[in-house]
Symmetry: C2
Subunit: 146 residues, 2 copies
DNA sequence: TATTGACCTAAAGTCAAGTTTAGGTGTTAG
DNA sequence: CTAACACCTAAACTTGACTTTAGGTCAATA
């Protein structure tokens, strides 16, 4: 059983944020001891799920919906499963998007390394768009296509 | 040479957003034809870089800084390179974070598939925290450690 | 006894990144 | 000639997720 301060340290989340989550109804089973919140293993697991869903790009409103489904019992297993399936898709897409971004960034790193060596961008610009070194060309193409 | 409407379609970015970027100074070389913006290859490449830096988690303010460096010329190659090196780090970290999130989500998908089969969570809960099937255990561990 | 520290609330404030509104210009189509 | 489009501006508004403020309770410590 933990105080809000302990949970704050444990998760590196400000106390104000935990109170905000509580106010938003994300801890429906949270008990109080003469006004003071008591966090248990239950809230800790909820917090792990909140963090997971937040990182997956879900907004608080939808996380609240999920929490409500959990409180409703076994009849909502289907909805909960499809939420996670949807978020799986979303995160996989986001990772792909970031891989593409990474290729653009890698290209730009190479570009500026060359520019620093050459003192200008002349030589590199002449290689565009398809005369780049063969380890660099795919990065450029990946970032510039479609 | 393109109008704002054409660029909006090309990049699937609202016209209002393009005007907002312009107002923020992200197109320092943008020319006008009696008030009307003319976007050229230059602004198109800038927009690609804006999108890239935005996806990498940079805020508009910092993108503006980068654009300013570009306008300054070869003396800022070093700063521009270190910006991209920093963003490379950031995106790589973000991808790792999302991989961890994905493991949590995969675990939850499995969890609710089982719950649907069983009609309750009894059996699964008894497997926690270290009696899970050996293809699932690593997902759970990855998501619950540290 | 007084003050410090950890907790509490409600309500207002902040921030980034746009979006919307209200009003205006200039060119083309019916 | 007038109406529909595509463009323009400045300024106010929106949204989500917090954070800050102002004021208060309660227990332990100096």
């Amino acid at each position: 059983m933990y105080t809000i301060g302990q949970i704050s340290e444990m998760f590196h989340i400000p106390i104000s944020t935990l109170r905000y989550y509580d106010k938003e109804g994300l801890f429906p089973h949270l008990q109080r001891n003469s006004g003071i919140r008591k966090f248990t293993e239950q809230e800790i697991e909820t917090l792990r799920v909140i963090e997971c869903l937040k990182k997956s790009g879900l907004e608080i409103k939808s996380i609240k919906q999920f929490i409500a489904w959990c409180a409703q019992g076994s009849e909502t297993y289907g909805q909960r499963l499809s939420l996670f399936l949807k978020q799986k898709e979303a995160v996989e897409k986001e990772i792909q998007r970031l891989e593409k971004t990474l290729d653009m960034i890698r290209f730009k790193c190479w570009y500026y390394e060359q520019a620093i060596q050459d003192g200008n961008e002349e030589r590199i610009r002449e290689m565009l768009p398809d005369q780049l070194p063969k380890d660099i060309q795919p990065l450029y193409d990946h970032a510039h296509k479609k």
